[in-house]
């Protein structure tokens, strides 16, 4: 189920909220787990079954660490979720890479024919982080299966993050089990939900439509201005798609008294590639830092480890060489910054920010184009004429408006502002209800969140 669907917004969500608050304290988590299974199960029973197995596996193997050798217990605990991830998400990529024939593929028909389980990369990372935290002695294995299942399945973060650690949620879930009277942040929850929805449709999806305007044309018909405009729209589409999902997820969490972390901290305002990764998909960056980068040696072999981790970042985003290339591209940017930091940091802030934004933006086409197409795209960009573009002034005006929103307003002033500093527009119930209504009317134009693919 998608957040940006009428079924979710008009039926599923109100029913779940009412059921959650109407339920007695001891049944609250049951309501959340039940709703989350319905939310997930509409994608298919096979994928739901795989998810349930992964949860039960993560839960039960956590108790092995007290009895088995650590390394063996880690291998066992991680094996099943990792196997699911490989078989469901990467099998096709592996087969393509080894140029497997039809006969070989037939052996794996079952995995090919089942739908890619939505959010498999997210829940696998969450379950694996739980196992590794138990292995490291950071947390005790939780005996409460219901609470552990609530952590893994809580539907606001289930499909597209943020990637939660058990320590982030355990106390909040315990509070739901033990607090008689809840004090939800309904106002900010609905505010984030309304704003996330309208940004998803009016910025991310409209930008996606504007990209399509050029992408359906042969490359020869495009001018350099068109290609640069396309890159601009891709940058807006990807960022606001992810951003909107995360904002909606935080809003939904607040409706159920659960605080989810901010996953995108105005990343386009970053002054260098390293800072970008401290502000872009923050929970993924920290997950990879804690469970991959540090474990393979961290700064001891900086260049090698950065290359490995960013190749993983690419692969995590998609099973394709274009995604690996995108990861490596960012690794190169981060390494480049590492060695030029003194000079880079002396640049005026606006120039450093613009440079970082441009460098990051030139990587986004790899999300949508194969390596060959991306190479052709860049080659054409160098040689293409500059006159008679396909895009029209209203497209640039739209892009400029997105730029003003992105670079001109700080989220702390209008989105995550404290209740004492209410914004006359973005905190108004009339404005937000109108935005929500507009979102509902336009939801048929909306596309699936890009992160649903991961």
């Amino acid at each position: 189920m998608n957040f940006n669907s009428l079924e979710f917004l008009v039926l599923f969500l109100p029913i779940t909220v009412v059921a959650f608050y109407a339920a007695p304290m001891r049944l609250r988590l049951w309501v959340l787990v039940g709703a989350s299974f319905i939310f997930y199960g509409v994608s298919g029973l096979e994928v739901l079954l795989a998810f349930v197995i992964a949860i039960l596996w993560g839960y039960s193997t956590a108790f092995l660490f007290a009895r088995w050798p650590r390394a063996l217990a880690i291998i066992v605990a991680v094996s099943v979720p990792a196997l699911f991830l490989v078989m469901f998400k990467y099998l096709n990529f592996i087969m393509d890479s080894v140029q497997a024939g039809p006969q070989m593929r037939d052996h794996f028909w079952f995995f090919f024919s089942i739908l890619l389980p939505a959010g498999i990369s997210f829940y696998t990372f969450e379950i694996v982080s739980y196992s590794l935290d138990v292995a490291d002695g950071k947390i005790e294995p939780d005996r409460d299966l219901l609470r552990f299942t609530s952590f893994a399945t809580f539907f606001p973060h289930l499909i597209a993050g943020p990637i939660m650690r058990y320590t982030d949620l355990r106390e909040q879930l315990q509070a739901l089990q033990s607090t008689q009277i809840l004090k939800p942040q309904i106002v900010s929850g609905l505010k984030l939900l309304s704003i996330g929805l309208i940004f998803k449709i009016l910025i991310a999806d409209v930008s996606g439509m504007r990209v399509s305007k050029a992408i359906d044309l042969p490359l020869e018909q495009l001018t350099a201005i068109d290609q640069l405009t396309q890159i601009g729209f891709w940058s807006a589409q990807i960022y606001y798609d992810f951003w909107a999902y995360s904002v909606m997820a935080i809003g939904l969490g607040r409706l159920f008294c659960i605080e989810l972390p901010v996953n995108f901290r105005e990343p386009y305002l970053s002054r260098n590639p390293r800072e970008f990764w401290q502000r872009w998909h923050v929970t993924l960056s920290y997950w990879l830092r804690d469970y991959a980068y540090i474990r393979i040696g961290g700064r001891e072999a900086y260049v090698r480890n950065i290359l490995i981790v960013f190749a993983l970042v690419g692969l995590w985003h998609g099973a394709g060489w274009n995604f690996v290339a995108w990861g490596i591209y960012h690794a190169v940017l981060v390494i480049l910054y590492h060695f030029t930091a003194p000079a880079w940091d002396r640049l005026p802030q606006s120039i450093a920010t613009a440079m970082t934004f441009i460098l990051v933006s030139f990587g986004w086409p790899l999300f949508f184009l194969s390596l060959e197409k991306y190479a052709a795209f860049l080659e054409h960009l160098v040689t293409a004429p500059w006159h008679a573009p396909v895009y029209r002034p209203h497209d640039w005006l739209y892009l400029a408006a997105i730029g003003v929103v992105t670079f001109g307003f700080r989220e702390r002033n209008w989105l995550y502002n404290e209740s004492a500093r209410r914004n006359i527009i973005t905190d108004s119930p009339v404005v937000l209800a109108s935005l929500m209504f507009t979102g509902l009317l336009l939801v048929s134009l909306s596309r699936t969140f890009i992160y649903f693919r991961f």
Binding site: L116, P429, V430
Partner: protein, 389 residues
């Protein structure tokens, strides 16, 4: 138990009241729209060369024009039931241009097999099934990555959804009743909470008489100043000022045989943008967007059998057709393989499967919309296989 501060309570009350007011407005606007189903439009009364302009109609209304005709007037010799993919299949494919008494194209929105099944059950109940041949189009798996084959387009009116239950054709166990109830609610939601419905209910004009025009001899009566405005504004202001602009709004219009005219190139059609080149592999077949999964082959076969049974009951041949998609060789796609397995379960049912006729650009008007030239190939095959003379 929940405790809200006074500010939250006040805020929530204003938010809820505003939203309730706006949603009520949307419901009211949707109720203002005429259905275009009753009284039904009679395509047989159209003169050759005339078209029925659907400019400014919602998708539901466009479908209702066809639905009203299907349930009120007798069907021709051959009836085609499908969705927008076959919009350009006209009687000219059989060498009988606009002969609605011989062939009528009942295509409707984005109907899938289960919805076509209900549609045909409804037509059967009305006693208006085609006399000789029921052609049922199945969305090619690679056209939309498996969508609209067995999953729903959610565009059928409620009475048709319920008729399956009432007639007993759809099982009355609680699960089926629940599924129909869910479908009724979501269909209604998609119709009411829709920008198209809201906007068009404010600016829609023109009934059957005004919309039936002959482009060869009608003139745009709108004043010159109006014609200088953008097309969107012309439609809005023209409707408010009582100027009907249907002569110049011919894209997507229905011809006498229910098909659309593929030769109309003015501005754009909603189906195929004009001026753009034919795009191969229009749908990238992304794994995350796939709509068929293992096990769906049984549902495909079940639906095909249920539709075939309608024809058997009345001695009318049912032939399914799967048109091609303009693409590279993607026959091995997962959705195609699942569909192949479904077909294999019903070997006795007649199917014209042209999925491999994918490379001739002349057979396509758009990447997933075959051209009139292609439909002549279909007509030839129908003759060759003895389904028609």
């Amino acid at each position: 138990m929940v405790a809200l501060e006074p500010y939250q309570r006040r805020w929530l009350a204003v938010f809820g009241a505003t939203l309730a007011l706006l949603v009520s407005l949307a419901v009211w606007l949707s109720l203002r729209l005429p259905s275009f189903r009753e009284p039904a439009f009679d395509f047989y009364t159209m003169q050759p060369g005339e078209i029925f302009s659907v400019y400014g109609l919602t998708r539901r209304q466009e479908g209702s024009v066809k639905l009203g005709f299907a349930e009120t007037y007798p069907a021709p010799e051959i009836g085609l039931y499908g969705n927008h993919i076959v919009a350009y299949f006209g009687a000219d494919a059989f060498g009988r241009p606009e002969d609605a008494e011989y062939f009528f194209n009942y295509f409707y929105a984005n109907l899938s097999l289960p919805e076509l099944h209900r549609y045909l059950l409804h037509v059967e109940k009305k006693g208006h099934l085609p006399k000789r041949l029921i052609l049922v189009q199945i969305t090619p798996p690679n056209a939309d990555n498996g969508h609209f084959i067995i999953n729903l387009g959610n565009e059928l009116p409620p009475d048709i959804l319920l008729s399956g239950l009432a007639s007993g054709a759809v099982s009355r166990n609680p699960l089926s009743i629940g599924a129909v109830a869910w479908e009724l609610i979501t269909n209604w939601l998609h119709e009411v909470l829709n920008y198209n419905t809201a906007i068009l209910s404010l600016f829609q004009s023109g009934g059957y008489k005004e919309r039936t025009v002959n482009p060869a001899n009608c003139r745009d009566e709108s004043p010159a100043w109006l014609r200088r405005l953008s097309f969107g504004l012309q439609g809005v202001i023209g409707a408010l000022g009582g100027f009907h602009v249907f002569c110049t709004r011919r894209w997507d219009a229905f011809r006498r045989d229910g098909s659309q005219d593929a030769s109309i190139e003015e501005l754009q059609t909603t189906i195929v943008p004009s001026g753009s080149s034919l795009v191969q592999n229009e749908n990238e077949l992304r794994e995350s967007d796939r709509a068929l999964r293992s096990g769906d082959e049984r549902e495909i076969a079940r639906q095909m059998r249920a539709i075939d049974a309608i024809g058997v009951r009345h001695g009318v041949k049912v032939v399914f057709m799967v048109p091609p998609v303009y693409e590279t060789d993607r026959h091995d796609s997962v959705v195609n393989q699942i569909f192949d397995r479904g077909r294999a379960l019903v070997p006795d049912i007649a199917v014209i499967d042209h999925r491999d006729m994918r490379s001739n650009p002349l057979h396509f008007k758009g990447g997933i919309h075959p051209s009139p030239q292609y439909y002549r190939v279909v007509a030839d095959e129908l003759r060759r296989r003895g389904f028609i003379e």
